[in-house]
């Protein structure tokens, strides 16, 4: 799936340990859930101050998936 590659590309560029990044995609009827796992020292890097980075990731992921008309949900697992 392209959106998974898209998300993976961004997350790997953000973190210090790209080989630890894991994304699990759960497809629903109306929404797609992306479950993201990163190395624990990298969690802050994908969330950011006040969730600024996580919010930005959600925004552009929504744009990337817009064509399909689905909604996305990005869960960051600690």
């Amino acid at each position: 799936m392209n959106e998974k590659e898209f998300l993976l590309y961004i997350i790997k560029a953000l973190v210090d340990e790209p080989e630890e990044v894991e994304i699990n995609v759960v497809e629903g009827e109306k929404s797609t859930i992306f479950e993201l796992k990163v190395a624990s020292p990298d969690i802050g890097k994908v969330i950011g101050k006040n969730g600024r980075i996580a919010k930005a990731i959600r925004t552009i992921l929504n744009a990337a998936i817009a064509k399909s008309g689905k909604r996305i949900s990005l869960d960051i697992l600690g």
């Binding site: 392209n2 930005a56 990337a64």
Partner: protein, 212 residues
């Protein structure tokens, strides 16, 4: 700057180790001999050298181009990227058929992409370089429409006498509103709320200021 130390039977020997380890030519290294400098035939003693390597950082423009073109490739969007560099800023113009998608509603996607690009390309840099993304002149157009909007709302405030609270805006957008109306003697502007997204309030200046 990378500083390392190497040992060898001779200075040349130590230098060879440095070259192999750092993957550079000895001409790029500044060398300082620490021990074993002048001892001829001193069997068994090793020459120790310290080398200094000035690391050349890859230009930000290249990093930004690589990151963005790679990113759009994953979802099959074709983009052309042009950059213009200033001392502390890098202006990036994205050209694409999918401009609308990349800009997003009120520029939200473009703002998010700019934030992420800034963090990613500056991650390993010593000096932060601000990256400003633009697409199909969106920023110019947005600035023009915000100015027109500010003037329109100010007119309404003058006619009705009632204050108007605008939708939440980012600092750059708020700045445009404040700047547009700052020389209007009848109008005052103020940002309200917390965080980076604040609302601008446009209201009448109180008359007593003129009477003073």
């Amino acid at each position: 700057m990378v500083i390392r130390e190497y040992e060898g039977r001779t200075q040349r020997d130590a230098l060879k180790k440095a070259e192999a380890d750092l993957g550079v030519d000895s001409e790029q290294l500044k060398i300082e001999v620490i021990t074993g400098k002048s001892k001829f035939f001193s069997f068994g003693t090793l020459v120790k050298i310290r080398v200094y390597l000035e690391v050349m950082e890859e230009p930000v423009s290249k990093n930004v181009e690589n990151f963005l073109s790679g990113l759009f490739k994953t979802i099959g969007i074709n983009v052309t990227i042009e950059t213009y560099e200033e001392v502390d800023k890098l202006y990036v113009e994205i050209l694409s058929d999918s401009a609308g998608l990349i800009i997003g509603k009120r520029g939200k996607t473009l703002e998010s992409l700019q934030l992420l690009t800034n963090i990613i390309v500056n991650k390993d840099r010593e000096n932060w370089k601000k990256v400003v993304l633009d697409i199909e002149n969106y920023r110019d157009k947005r600035e023009t429409s915000l100015k027109e909007f500010a003037l329109k709302v100010a007119d309404k405030v003058k006619k009705t006498g009632k204050a108007q609270l605008l939708e939440p805006m980012n600092p750059f957008e708020r700045r445009i509103i404040h700047m547009t109306l700052q020389n209007d003697p009848q109008i005052n502007t103020k940002s309200e709320g917390a965080g980076s997204l604040k609302k601008v309030k446009i209201f009448l200046r109180r008359r007593k200021k003129y009477n003073k």
